[in-house]
């Protein structure tokens, strides 16, 4: 069984989208982010104000909708779930700790903690025992009778953690949980989170404090809505990890101080202490381009770019780790097709993506390429390197016969009816981007 709890594929978020681009361009709060949250992870998201940290957390926790891209919640596409199903998912799987603790002012502390659990109609005695047990662990058992306005900030935050834990969630989302706390209470809270992580709870934490981030296992640094840097702690010391995080934050501050904008190439820089994951769990939606050749800038920005040069293939997998595939290690390449139906009334149409399995000596890398007419250049590139290509769907031949995207699609519709069957092809609503 897969360990993946949440998988985000090329997600983007635009607040107040301007379809006609009257303001010039849309502001991307999240810009083509890939993210995978596995069981037992303790990931921290850092970044300057307005970099999209909270937006990413809100999107991953199903509280906010996406503009483009997909999120898989335990393998189920979030866009296929209705509001009630999302509520059910949050109730069963997620726990939340917010910066402003968000306690309900008209409920006392006991009821605040119990609020998510009473949805499950648990036995009153059992629930009471559970609340008291958690309250004792968090040292808030003496304030159970009080109301939120009668408690201190630290107490309220611990109550928020207790509320997040009451349903034994698989994942805890923490949005700046220490934002309103003093250092003593912050460390107390983080010790609790660390303990929970050791017990197997998955934690996703947003913060701007390097010290807080040093309690995590992986740190992702967000900048302008994209993940810029990923650092894994592994078995290193917390101090070293903290220093590394601090360096990244400092580097970013200095970068902002002396340069007014980051160049297109800067976005490519990836900084990892050590790559943790290699393969992506499923087909990764990418745009392939050859270094030094002309490429489609729109597709480059919309999907994960995969760069091919003389010796290697370089890209970032869904875990945001930099992956370098040595071209000499590739045994063979399998090509396949995936159909997609965009349901748009009389303008409904099928589109086809090329699935590329790169089989190396030790691993298999799976890509779903969004390239259009330029796909043939990529295929020729592999052919020039004498890499065997298994093409059961005769994709190369079709590209040679019909170099234009429109003609090729029409041909596929005639010849590959098996790909267009219900359940085989993805059925999409082109406006909402929801799977139907």
């Amino acid at each position: 069984m897969s360990n993946i709890l949440i998988e985000a594929n090329n997600i983007s978020k635009i607040y107040d989208p301007d379809i006609l681009l009257k303001r010039g361009k849309n502001f991307y709060a999240l810009d083509n982010v890939n993210f995978v949250l596995e069981k037992g992870d303790f990931i921290c998201i850092m970044g300057p104000s307005g970099s999209g940290k909270s937006t990413l957390l809100n999107c991953l926790s199903t509280l906010d909708s996406l503009s483009t891209g997909h999120i898989l919640l335990k393998g189920t596409d979030m866009t296929t779930l209705n509001k009630n199903e999302l509520c059910e998912f949050r109730y069963k799987t997620l726990g939340f700790v917010f910066q402003n603790h968000n306690l309900i002012p008209y409920l006392n502390i006991f009821d605040n903690i119990a609020t998510p659990a009473i949805l499950g109609h648990i036995n009153a005695k059992e629930l009471k025992e559970k609340v008291i047990h958690i309250a004792r662990d968090l040292e808030i058992e003496k304030i159970l009778d009080k109301f939120p306005h009668e408690c201190s900030g630290g107490e309220c935050q611990r109550v928020a953690i207790a509320r997040a834990l009451i349903n034994d969630p698989e994942i805890i989302f923490c949005d700046e949980p220490t934002g309103n706390l003093d250092s003593k209470n912050s460390h107390k809270l983080l010790s609790i989170l660390t303990k929970l992580h050791q017990q197997g709870t998955t934690i996703l934490l947003v913060t701007h404090d390097a010290m807080i981030a040093s309690y995590s296992q992986t740190m992702m640094y967000l900048y302008d809505g994209s993940i810029k840097t990923v650092v894994h702690r592994h078995n290193g010391s917390q101090l070293n990890y903290y220093q590394r995080i601090n360096e990244i934050v400092l580097e970013d501050s200095i970068l902002k101080q002396f340069t007014h904008s980051t160049s297109f190439e800067d976005k490519e820089k990836i900084d990892t202490m050590k790559t943790k994951h290699k393969k992506s769990p499923s087909y990764q939606i990418v745009y392939m381009y050859i270094h030094g050749y002309k490429y489609d800038k729109d597709l480059y920005q919309k999907y994960t770019p995969v760069m091919l040069n003389d010796r290697e293939i370089i890209y970032r997998n869904k875990y945001n780790d930099e992956i370098i595939i040595d071209l000499s290690s590739i045994k063979e390449i399998h090509l396949n097709l995936k159909a997609q139906f965009a349901n748009f009334g009389i303008y409904s149409q099928f589109t086809f993506d090329v699935l590329i399995d790169i089989i190396c000596h030790d691993d298999i890398y799976k890509f779903r390429a969004k390239n259009k007419d330029d796909m043939i250049q990529i295929i020729h590139y592999f052919q020039d390197l004498h890499i065997p290509i298994i093409d059961s769907k005769k994709i190369i031949e079709t590209y040679q016969q019909f170099p234009k995207d429109y003609e090729r699609t029409k041909y596929y519709i005639r010849t590959h009816k098996d790909l267009m069957k219900y359940g085989v092809c993805d059925n999409l609503n082109p406006i909402t981007n929801k799977k139907m």
């Binding site: 009630n84 008209y106 949805l119 949005d175």
Partner: protein
Amino acid sequence: MFTFVKKVYKNRKKDYYILLIILTLIASFEFCSLAIYSSLNRISGHIITKLEFTSLPTLSTFVGLILSTFVLKYFIENKKQEFSILLLSGRKPKDLFMYVLYQFGFLSLFAFIIGIGIGSVFIIGINSIIKNFHFTFLFHYSLMDTIFIYLYFFIFTNIFILTICSHQFVNLDKNLVYYLNHKESSHNDGYKMYFSVFLEDQKKKNPIYNIILSFFVCFITIYSSIKLLDNHLASPFLILYYFLALIGIILIVKKTVPLLYHLLHNYLIKHPILLNALACFQDFSSTMMTLIVLNASLVPTVLFIVISSRKDTILQIIIMPCFIMILIMIVLCFVLRYSIYNNAIRKSVTTIYAIGYTPHQIQIIFVLKNMLFALFAILIPLLLFTQLSYIALIHHYLSIEVIICLSLSYIILYFMILIYIFVKENQSIKEVTNYVKYLNRS
């Protein structure tokens, strides 16, 4: 200072427009009531008769005064942080008076002036309606007298507001740091835990006193209500039972409902919607308590004045505009207070949604809360009102047409209020469940 006030006006245009509309309407009703008072004063007759006649417009004018003070006080209280920033930037408390005068003095002066015009139109309207009903009595008021008393009320309202402000400014000056960092939070003091059900070793507080009190309150309320059904009750007893019933209802809302919440806590935690609805109702009723009490006491009091007076056709003419004006003023203040409450509750709704409650469940919570509110704040006063109306009818104080008209205006206005609450809450639920910003904003 003036530029700052202008900028504040510009940035919160909508709030100030609503405030101006409410103040203008209240001022118009105040003027209208004073005009009725002035015309009744011109009738020749015994002083007691005059007092009986003028008591209704006087009541209506004082309600206007209380409500305009309530509205202004509420607005000024919400400006604590603005005042503290002004103090921080070197202004003296004396300057703050000028600031309040610039902001609210102008608004109330504006409302005062427009109120004269609209109030005069109301009086013309009332007179033409009376003519249509073929009554011989019309309200012929002295404009100068009315404006003089009206001006007196205006000055009194502003002095009252400045007195409240001076108390607030002294407190601000003393605890500037506290108010700068102060976050508005809901303090529902009426809802306290009577005993700890959570910890075995904790000393239990004894709720026996509250249980006895609640039983007593329920008994008194039911007993008084049954006694009120007696149509031949003497006036002093009628007053006694009426006030006992009224106090009983208020105490049930303030004491018995919270006690029941805790006594039935074990049952309630199996029913998340009921638990949340009850807790939400307690919060809502404590927020709206002033207006609930005002409504519950004023509506039947109007009839009480009629019953206590001698039978006269003029009273039937006076009661209609005064009663409707009082109702509209309460409803206006209710709308204003509710719109502020509705904004405050949004964060709680988003939190409940985030932790797994579906929008439908949240909707049911609010519907249950509103049903309880409608029962205690609208239906029970209506029942008391109906009972008093019946007494007024069988003793020929009021005609059936007047009673129907009064009852209909009550039902229509409060039905509109309930619809307004329902629509606003549905809008809020829809908005907060679609827009995550409410979770992250402090």
